[in-house]
Point group: C2
């Protein structure tokens, strides 16, 4: 995958802008678990996932974390460059969920492009709108969905991401993702196991009835 | 207040763009309680508050509402024009909280400006970033703050908006704002009253110790 394939607006840039982007963008390799960005003070720049997977989450004062979105190959992380937008007043932490290869576009270079090119500015609007929509979805889950539905949804998403029915996830880890306590997750997983929807193995969850899980969260 | 004062980027528009904006913008007067926008299918256009107050909220399937932000004089409502941004995939409802005078900029006119002018596109980014920040703040309140702090914060905000310590709000109404049950609000308000922070009158809440309320939510 090349840098130009990750920018839907690449062809709307001038040759000079394309050249500036190529010249300033750095490649970076990080190991699973690496912290790539920690809050709004950290002016990391725009991150583009070349290969691997990132997780963006928010952190409470007591250290609890809630995943707000995942980024996979070809995805662009805008909030790691939020220092360039004074209106963004919240802190997102970004970590590598797998060994990941990235491109890093310096924030000031990207900001310059946004100021020169309506295509880049409107593309940035689209990116922000997409992340905003994900966060609104999450907020609705938290406020209005019962927890069984949230957990089923989460397991199905993980399974789609991993392309596997066997998920190497501890209850602790699932609880961190969903912003709840481990006990709550364990209780619900046991209920799911009793219903034949999952099988619990040490440190893993195996989905044994995907269609039943989908039915639970109202999917076909 | 004139239209041009509400657009920080007015002076960056060409004379033709300013003219097009003036020509296409309609004035509108609505009564308190009027529904101005209902979800993403509703292509209302950009709303600018000339005088009065709007409330934007999300609605659960069961009809519960949670206020996500308020708009006062000079504020611009972007999500009433979300039809122009395909990346926005959530529904916001907008209603008048007071008798309100508005300008309405048709969505296609605003979209056109965003495509022509980097200033307008980046201003739109800033607007979206601000709303996003408000929603993230709210999500953190919901997930991590104890309810006494949320309620105190809400009363203080209302008081600042109303410029009064006497708030004409029923417990039902407060519960709708905070996405919780009336009983929960009543219980906490009684606790506040016991602590001397508020006085409960039929249909109203009077703040009697603002500094204690502020201390509760960690403000000076």
């Amino acid at each position: 995958m090349e840098l130009e394939h990750c920018f839907p607006v690449w062809n709307k840039l001038t040759a000079a802008q394309q050249e500036a982007l190529h010249r300033s963008t750095r490649e970076k390799q990080v190991k699973k678990g690496a912290l790539l960005h920690a809050g709004g003070q950290d002016c990391t720049g725009l991150l583009i996932v070349r290969q691997g997977q990132l997780r963006a989450y928010i952190l409470s004062e007591e250290g609890r974390e809630v995943t707000i979105y995942r980024l996979v190959e070809g995805d662009v992380c805008l909030f790691s460059a939020s220092c360039m937008m004074r209106s963004i007043q919240f802190d997102v932490t970004v970590e590598a969920e797998r060994d990941t290869a990235l491109w890093v576009v310096p924030a000031e270079v990207y900001r310059g492009l946004m100021e020169q090119s309506t295509a880049v500015a409107n593309y940035t609007n689209d990116l922000m709108g997409s992340r905003f929509s994900e966060v609104m979805w999450l907020m609705e889950q938290i406020m209005w969905r019962s927890f069984d539905q949230r957990l089923a949804q989460f397991l199905l998403q993980e399974s789609a991401l991993e392309e596997s029915d066997l998920l190497p996830l501890t209850h602790e880890r699932i609880a961190a993702h969903l912003g709840t306590a481990r006990e709550v997750v364990t209780r619900m997983l046991r209920y799911f196991q009793g219903e034949g929807m999952v099988r619990l193995v040490r440190g893993s969850v195996e989905l044994t009835d995907v269609s039943k899980l989908k039915a639970l969260c109202g999917q076909k």
